[in-house]
């Protein structure tokens, strides 16, 4: 089966200059430098098929951006192999970037002082986009991204959400086969986030563009991605379907109980009290051992209950557990 990205045992190590502290340290820095090696990406392997929409997750400093920079040809790997669209990105930077689109979080590809439409015209020229394709793409993106109200506004006057929409349009005008998105929804409100997500889904499904996105916002992943890769400390901890992730590490459901009065002892067999605050207690339980209704039955037999709610394990807690407990290691 065809692969659009093949990464095997990819590594990127940085030598970081260790500053000594204080005046004496600053003086010694001048003459002898100490370095430590940071393994930002430390043996990562994965393959991506055309048309996939992959979420790339990890805490800050995990190696997400470093991987993305290697995939886009900005960084040369320290080791391992990296093929994107049958090219080694950094060896043929210009040919490579002509076939990809990239939106890197808070930075814009557009010209700060130019009206949006003129930036887009300039990109048409730079990427040598044929006029009919440019017109067709513009018509589609203007509608999908609702660009019309600010097409004539200089980029510096756009809101964050408007700028992200303009940047997405700019990244896709030349019909890239691959789209890299680094934190595409960061700093946006709920409505703006949803609009961006809809657009990403549209691009992936209707145009068949392969999309790789990094994000902190797990609802991006839940709503968009079928496949998730989790990286931490330079190593890939998980690569698979979102559902598998949830099943394997979804953790336990929890029941939040508000008692009608205060009790000293609220323990129940087969369930664990994980939070206690006045009249409120949170029980954690496993579906296979104890159903929610059984637990409620046991509780109501002993205590007077005012209110109940079931808390589903969320993906965020799941991923946090994976990082914290290093569940996937070994």
């Amino acid at each position: 089966m065809s692969r659009i990205i093949v990464v095997s045992n990819l590594q990127k190590h940085f030598r970081v200059f260790k500053h000594r502290r204080g005046m004496g340290g600053a003086f010694r820095n001048l003459f002898s430098r100490q370095y430590k090696v940071v393994r930002a990406v430390d043996g990562v392997s994965f393959q991506i098929r055309p048309g996939e929409l992959v979420g790339y997750l990890g805490p800050n400093g995990a190696g997400k951006s470093t991987t993305l920079k290697m995939l886009t040809g900005l960084l040369v790997p320290s080791g391992g192999e990296l093929w994107v669209n049958d090219r080694v990105p950094w060896r043929e930077r210009q040919a490579h970037v002509a076939t990809i689109g990239a939106v890197f979080g808070q930075r814009t590809t557009l010209w700060w002082d130019l009206p949006v439409i003129e930036s887009l015209d300039l990109l048409q020229y730079i990427y040598k986009i044929p006029p009919h394709r440019f017109r067709r793409n513009m018509a589609e993106f203007r509608k999908m991204l609702e660009l019309d109200p600010f097409l004539d506004t200089p980029v510096r006057s756009l809101s964050l959400g408007q700028r992200m929409r303009a940047d997405l349009c700019a990244a896709l005008l030349h019909d890239p086969i691959l789209l890299f998105l680094d934190e595409p929804t960061i700093g946006l409100d709920v409505v703006a986030k949803e609009r961006i997500r809809q657009f990403i889904r549209h691009v992936n499904r209707e145009r068949g563009t392969t999309v790789i996105l990094t994000t902190h916002d797990l609802s991006d992943v839940e709503k968009l991605c079928e496949r998730v890769m989790i990286i931490d400390q330079g190593r890939l901890l998980f690569d698979g379907a979102l559902d598998t992730l949830r099943e394997r590490f979804g953790g336990k459901r929890a029941l939040v109980v508000d008692f009608a009065q205060e009790y000293d002892d609220v323990t129940v067999a087969d369930a664990q009290v994980i939070e206690r605050d006045g009249r409120r207690a949170v029980y954690q339980f496993e579906q296979e051992v104890l159903t929610a209704s059984e637990l409620i039955g046991r509780l109501s037999a002993r205590y007077r209950i005012r209110d109940l709610s079931v808390r589903e394990p969320d993906i965020e807690a799941t991923v946090r557990r994976i990082y914290e407990e290093r569940l996937l290691e070994g």
Binding site: V97, T109, W111, I126
Partner: protein, 269 residues
């Protein structure tokens, strides 16, 4: 190549239009720099008049040196604004340099096209006026060779300072702390070239002859244009070394720049 030039032209047009969006600021900038130059040269002229010249050069002869350097340096400062080391350092730190690398265009072309300080034009024009005034008053005996060589000298001085800008920018890939070292050469060289070399002591002159060959860019060509004798007894072709010195520095700078880009791609900082 034609595509590259056309892209460059368009990128510059963006910069110029952006600056013209604020016409008042633009006019004030032009006027302000005009005032600085007039005050600068005015005070120099007053001093020189009092001493009746300097190092065997009359006021108008010094104006010849001064005008040429001002014209060429500020033309360079305008065309190579993107390579102004502090500006370029910011471009790298704020991640805009990565954005340029994501476009299917040569990186040197894009850095050149990323900025164009058109307000330097004011100083270019004034440098030109001072130069023309000097040429008129000093009564140069023009020959065909002199007429042809004049623009070559101009281009050489532009290349020389452009090279220093590129070297300074490349250094910012490693450290932002050492920019001052190259600034001493750039702005020191600019200052030094406005005066006849006879006023400097030997070690400084040797430094600017053998290590950084700035002496061949303005001083020696001026000796030739003004038909003045060479006080340092260099070979008679010395006035014609300007393109070699300017082009050599620029070529070395571009080689260093390529090396710096490779370093950047392996460290990302």
């Amino acid at each position: 190549m034609r595509f590259a030039l056309d892209v460059y032209r368009r990128l510059l047009a963006v910069q110029i239009r952006a600056q013209l969006q604020y016409p008042v600021a633009f006019a004030l900038d032009l006027g302000g720099t005009a005032l600085i130059l007039i005050v600068e040269f005015g005070s120099l002229a007053l001093i020189l008049q009092r001493f009746e010249g300097i190092g065997g050069w009359s006021l108008v002869e010094v104006a010849f040196l001064y005008g040429m350097v001002e014209m060429a340096f500020n033309t360079m400062d305008m065309l190579f604004s993107g390579f102004d080391p502090p500006v370029f350092g910011r471009l790298v730190r704020q991640g805009q340099f990565d954005q340029l690398l994501l476009r299917p265009l040569g990186i040197t072309l894009q850095v050149l096209g990323s900025r164009c300080e058109t307000r330097r034009l004011g100083r270019v024009v004034q440098g030109g006026l001072i130069f023309m005034l000097a040429v008129g008053l000093v009564d140069v005996r023009w020959t065909l060779l002199k007429l042809v060589y004049l623009p070559v000298v101009f281009a050489s001085v532009v290349s020389f300072f452009g090279g220093l800008f590129i070297i300074g920018s490349t250094i910012t890939f490693w450290t932002v702390e050492s920019i001052e070292a190259i600034n001493v050469l750039t702005y020191g060289g600019h200052e030094m070239m406005t005066f006849p070399m006879t006023i400097y002591n030997d070690w400084l002159r040797r430094f600017f002859t053998f290590i950084v060959p700035a002496i061949f860019l303005n001083y020696y060509p001026a000796l030739y244009f003004l038909d003045k004798p060479d006080p340092f007894n260099l070979p008679p072709f010395a006035p014609f070394l300007a393109p070699l010195a300017g082009g050599g520095i620029l070529a070395a700078a571009l080689a260093f720049w390529r090396f710096g880009i490779r370093h950047y791609a392996s460290t990302g900082s």
